[in-house]
């Protein structure tokens, strides 16, 4: 005999606190059972609530992949761009309208493989972007191919006999490239992730938050690591919070320790400030700052 379902009480006019941030007309979303992307979106929405950020000033840019689909589900000005190129698109948005708070929300393959070049240059330039990199250690959308982040000896569809390449340590990469805020959490760390996102909103410059997330359908399944819940339990058990840890020491392996925390939080002028300072110094009175909203020839 099956339990009867207690659905939303007809007397219950409760509203999910994250509902105002979602395109509810497009729910349910396409992500698999146990996939952590939705959880990261939950944390993101709560960061929006907590940081009281003006939603009208927010734009979200994503690339291609499972995480790339986030743009289509959030109720913001959102741009689902081409594979690997969310960061340069976001750069153009930000430079044309510096008042925008621009978030890049994309996956590990999109940001560090095809998008790797743009990742390091935007970090080097310290473009004022908040990058949320959902790292499920695989190319999920296309069926589970090896990504630069796939841990050693993993089974993937393009390494059916096991990977043998060293994988990227993303926090280390972006710190070396120049990011001013670098943090890593897992989808188990819902509160800390939210807090990091809120902190990144207050930060000027290139912020990078990596979120380790399950891909139960492909990565976990092919490597016999259980389902989404098993993975969340693994995150809970094997994560170690080490705020300020040297990023060279936070590499990942298939079943080993996961170092999480806020690793880098430093200050240096962002691209826009440096640009304006340089022009002011070189041109003095002749420098004409860009119009507030590029309006003269747009109706």
């Amino acid at each position: 005999m099956s339990d009867s379902l207690i659905d939303i009480d007809t007397n219950n006019s409760a509203v999910n606190p994250v509902e105002p941030f979602l395109r509810t007309d497009r729910m349910p979303h396409i992500w698999c059972p146990g996939c952590g992307i939705g959880t990261t979106v939950n944390s993101f929405a709560r960061a929006l609530i907590d940081s009281k950020i003006d939603l009208g000033s927010l734009a979200l840019v994503s690339g291609i992949g499972c995480t790339g689909r986030v743009a289509g589900y959030v109720k913001l000005d959102s741009f689902h761009t081409t594979h690997g190129r969310a960061i340069p698109f976001a750069t153009g948005l930000k430079l044309a309208n510096p008042k925008l708070n621009v978030v890049v929300y994309s996956g590990d393959g999109d940001l560090s493989a095809i998008g790797g070049n743009h990742l390091i240059h935007a970090a080097r330039r310290n473009i004022d972007l908040k990058v949320i990199c959902v790292n499920n250690l695989i190319y999920a959308m296309t069926g589970g191919q090896t990504a630069p982040t796939t841990p050693d000896h993993s089974t993937t569809s393009t390494n059916p006999y096991g990977t043998f390449e060293p994988s990227f340590n993303l926090p280390h990469l972006v710190e070396a490239a120049g990011a001013v805020y670098v943090a890593r959490w897992t989808t188990f760390h819902v509160r800390q992730l939210s807090r990091s996102i809120s902190e990144a909103f207050k930060k000027k410059g290139f912020s990078f938050i990596e979120v380790i997330s399950p891909c139960p359908t492909l990565y976990q399944r092919r490597n016999k690591l259980g389902d989404g819940l098993d993975t969340m339990k693994y995150y809970k058990e094997k994560s170690k919070v080490r705020n300020g840890a040297p990023t060279s020491e936070v590499g990942l392996s298939m079943t080993g320790e996961i170092v999480v925390g806020k690793f880098v939080d430093r200050d240096r002028p962002d691209y826009g400030s440096m640009m304006r300072a340089q022009f002011t110094e070189s041109l003095g009175d002749k420098y004409v700052e860009q119009d507030e909203k590029e309006v003269p020839v747009c109706s």
Binding site: S78, T82, H118, V288
Partner: protein, 389 residues
């Protein structure tokens, strides 16, 4: 509306095509460019980098053309008129994002100062071998507009036209220069700002509730909004419906790509600009564009001195191709002569449109230099002697 005077360098100038193109962009209202150095186009953005901090705007040199071609689109959605500049190898890299601009209906301009190819080819020497690529370079069904200036003055005037078409039709416009037009120095007259017409962004006036990012009001071009205005719209390269939401079904695909095509083709008569001369009574019509049209002019003059009845059709718009005009002419003339700095590209369009009613003669040149007038004259003479098709 009229041009913003802050961007208009009114006066008589002696500058090359690259420089004139930059001034045209500024006059048109462009306040953002993203670029990557590539010969023979680099001067356009170098000048822009120098001018724009004194006009009010931004230039950023990106790490590659893949980035430049999409950074400019981000800037468009942030509210700016934007462009990039490149040559063959960079044009090839930009193809995915030209398709993205066509699919998302992002108004923008891509300048290609053509050089010898394929591959690295002849960086400092001319060709006109990217003409088909301008039309078909990205994957899928889409339409673009392509313009071909043949002088520095046209590099100024037609760049403004390019931006105007981009905004009117919400389409990426290919500005197909060549290395000679780009590097030749001639008189360029830049008028007063109030004499220059610019088309503003087709920005919506609808409320947030009523606005449909990809819905049209009976015309075929949707209204646009910019990020940060509260519309909460979604833009995607996936096949999408009027809401901008991915909707990957055959009916939605059909409706969308047909509209992307018809919004241009239905206005082809207006978009396809050309210069014509002595077409009435002509036996032979020389169809040319860009620098080749300057050489062809000389060949046509000599042919006429020899008593031949030669008409001239200079393509100012290469795409959409002026099929209708060619079809009309094909019924009346013996032959078309099409000199190009390539092994036969636009000549295929001429041949197709002529549909066998007139002969078509290509005057090919593999690039690296320009034709000699006598090379073109020879074919005009041969074409004049041919039997009527």
């Amino acid at each position: 509306m009229k041009a913003d005077p802050r961007g208009v360098l009114t006066g008589i100038h002696f500058i090359d095509g690259d420089h004139a193109c930059c001034e045209g962009a500024l006059a048109a209202g462009a306040r953002f460019a993203a670029g990557y150095p590539i010969t023979p186009s680099t001067e356009v953005v170098e000048r822009f980098a120098s001018r724009v901090p004194k006009v009010g705007g931004t230039f950023i040199q990106m790490e590659d053309e893949l980035a430049a071609s999409i950074t400019l689109q981000g800037a468009v959605w942030g509210g700016a008129k934007a462009f990039t500049v490149t040559s063959g190898p960079g044009f090839s890299l930009m193809m995915e994002h030209i398709g993205y601009a066509a699919m998302t209906e992002t108004p923008c301009v891509f300048v290609d100062v053509q050089r010898g190819g394929p591959s690295t080819g002849l960086p400092t020497l001319p060709a006109q071998a990217d003409m088909m690529q301008a039309r078909w370079g990205s994957h899928g069904d889409y339409e673009i507009i392509a313009l071909c200036p043949n002088s520095p003055q046209e590099c100024f005037d037609l760049t403004i036209k390019a931006f105007n078409f981009a905004e009117e039709f919400r389409v990426p416009v290919m500005f197909m220069m060549d290395e000679v037009v780009g590097h030749m120095t001639e008189k360029v007259v830049i008028p007063q700002a109030h004499e220059i017409d610019v088309v503003p962004r087709k920005h919506t006036h609808k409320s947030v509730e009523d606005y449909l990012p990809y819905g049209t009001n009976g015309d075929q071009v949707p209204e646009m909004a910019h990020a940060g205005e509260g519309y909460n719209f979604h833009v995607t390269g996936l096949t999408h419906d009027e809401h901008g939401y991915p909707n990957m079904t055959p009916p939605v695909q059909d409706k969308l790509v047909r509209r992307l095509q018809s919004k241009i083709r239905d206005a082809a008569d207006r978009i396809a600009m050309f210069e014509e001369e002595e077409l009435d009574g002509a036996d032979v019509v020389v169809v040319s564009y860009g620098i080749t049209s300057r050489v062809a002019q000389r060949a046509i003059e000599v042919a006429r001195e020899q008593g031949l009845r030669v008409g001239k059709l200079r393509l100012i718009t290469a795409w959409p191709f002026p099929e209708k005009k060619i079809r009309e002419l094909a019924a009346k003339v013996k032959a078309f002569v099409v000199p190009e700095l390539n092994l036969g590209q636009m000549v295929r369009e001429v041949e197709r449109a002529a549909a066998g009613h007139a002969k078509t003669y290509a005057v090919s040149h593999a690039g690296g230099g320009v034709h000699r007038p006598e090379d073109i004259l020879k074919v005009i003479v041969e074409a004049s002697r041919c039997q009527t098709a």
